[in-house]
């Protein structure tokens, strides 16, 4: 732990084998022993590869309308293996692009929330006192707002502006969802920062002559990172759900671009005659969310084993 000893250890060649296991080595081992989490990571990786490769190589384009093949059930003929939708577009191609759009909304909006949350929480935690009080009361107030309504309002009232500009719309969705998901993150980071500052091992590091930068790098960051990474993994499915929810009520990603939520909405309207248009996107969505939740649970158990 103490830098001087570490340096001395690394200086001797024999010590390389005896080097202690770090927090992260332990965590990785525990994570890899969690079968559900490992399988989920594999499935998710496979999905991403299939989606990217599929979009490049698949003979059908996700926007291409084939009037001779409207509402075709899944068939090997002409390679419509997921069937086609009510407009004659290949459902597999649409599911792939929908998956990628949903995933990128999940990741990007989570990053937005991460950036705001960590900055806000760390500042409050380090500053302490009145600044902390003010910043966290603000979070409390925003927390008690039914923010879904505000997100819906924001997207609804900007519809005229964003019509025909799917990219702008996507940006707004990132900002709107990321802008409300950072609250919990800021609470977690603040709490961690506050307790860490007073911990004995930080004091010991100070006594051992470590600089501020070293303390932050070796002690604060690794300890804050654990809960942050766990919470991030669990935020991604929440965000994916939020985007799908918005798409479902007609405020999400716009045609011809699509997301899993939009596909499910379209599918649920056609389910009496074309159940496959609901079942395939719904299945992909369920699998994706399950994978993220398994990975998040696994990570939490791996990084913080006492909660198991």
């Amino acid at each position: 732990m103490i830098p001087a000893i570490n340096d001395a250890r690394e200086a001797t060649t024999a010590a390389a084998a005896a080097r202690g296991r770090s927090l992260w080595d332990d965590a990785r081992r525990r994570l890899l022993r969690n079968r559900a989490a490992v399988v989920s990571m594999a499935v998710l990786a496979a999905f991403i590869v299939i989606a990217v490769v599929g979009l490049l190589l698949w003979p059908h384009d996700y926007k291409a309308i084939d009037r001779s093949a409207v509402g075709v059930p899944p068939t090997m003929e002409n390679l419509h293996i997921f069937g086609t939708d009510a407009q004659g577009r290949d459902l597999l191609a649409r599911t792939l692009i929908g998956f990628l759009v949903s995933l990128s909304v999940g990741v990007v909006a989570t990053m937005v929330s991460l950036a705001i949350g960590v900055a806000w929480g760390a500042t409050a935690g380090f500053a302490g006192g009145r600044v902390d009080q003010f910043m966290m009361r603000t979070v409390d107030v925003i927390y008690s707002l039914p923010y879904v309504f505000l997100v819906i309002l924001l997207l609804a009232v900007t519809q005229d502006v964003t019509t025909g500009k799917p990219f702008l719309k996507l940006l707004l969705i990132f900002a709107a969802i990321g802008g409300v998901e950072w609250l919990t993150m800021s609470r977690i980071v603040r709490g961690q920062t506050l307790t860490l500052r007073r911990q004995e091992f930080v004091e010991a590091a100070v006594a051992g002559g470590a600089t501020n930068a070293q303390i932050v790098r070796r002690h604060i960051v690794p300890n804050v990172l654990g809960p942050v990474v766990v919470y991030m993994t669990l935020t991604i499915p929440v965000v994916i759900l939020a985007e799908s929810f918005l798409s479902f009520i007609g405020l999400g990603v716009q045609e011809p671009l699509t997301s899993l939520g939009s596909l499910i909405k379209a599918g649920s309207e056609d389910m009496e005659t074309k159940p496959w248009t609901l079942l395939f996107p719904a299945g992909v969505m369920m699998a994706t969310l399950l994978c993220f939740n398994f990975i998040g649970d696994g990570l939490r158990d791996a990084i913080d084993p006492k909660d198991r």
Binding site: P146, K265, S268
Partner: protein, 309 residues
Amino acid sequence: MLGYAARRLLVAIPTVLVIITVAFFMMRAAPGSPFDTERPMPEEIRQRILAAYDLDKPVLQQYVSYLGGVLHGDLGPSLKYRDKTVADILIEGAPVSAVVGLSALVLATLMGTALGVAAALRQNKAGDFGVMAVALIGISVPPFVVGPLLQLFFGLHLGWLPTGGLDRGEITLERMILPVITLSLPQIAITSRLMRASMIEVIRSNYIRTARAKGLSEFRVVARHGLRAALPPLVSYLGPASAALVTGSLVIEQVFQLPGIGRQFVIGALQRDYTVVMGVVIIYASLIIFMNLIADLLLATLDPKVRLE
């Protein structure tokens, strides 16, 4: 406790005010108006309509007069339904929303508690893993997937239940079953996870061992001694749960074509029916704040260690 409740309600007023303000200015700042039609209407008529609803005045003045109205319980006329006030629309929609929402809340609390306790008592056995696996699925599968799937299976495939709507405007049991189940499933999942974690802690404590040593039946130990100590996390989740149910109802009312106020909100937001949107926001915001207060008061009665300040 009464004093505390009164103070909390006082604090709630600025919160509601913030919501009203943000929602109000957000809608006015955006382009488009409730009277946009396919064909542009003559400017003169447009001016007269705007004047009839006071929309030609400066925004700040509109805001002040709107707030004044709200303080007197007047939410104004709907801008889209010509013969209805916002209050009419809310009163029409509220029963359906309330029935579905409350039933879902009760169902989620009861089922979640039962499943969570059952899982905790069988920790790390097959039953526990079963419940937790189902709970994880419940969290991962959104209501707008569950709803259509249930409609497809029970409504169309088996033909046991109607797929949606009301029975000639009446709320009947068989039309409520699917919406309530769909709305409560994620909450059952979350509640059972909470309850399991909390019960596992409690069951290991000394006084439970004492209760068992006294020879009390297992049921009495769990129901009388264990449950009371394990309930607080569940009670504090009541606030977020009601917020989640409100959000969920926006989707449920769409999926099952129920004429509730959640549906009015979505329609209103898309059509720029400013006053209806504001009305629903105010109702739901107050509801969520109220539920949080109830949760805190319940928590204080349940757990003597919690001090209300």
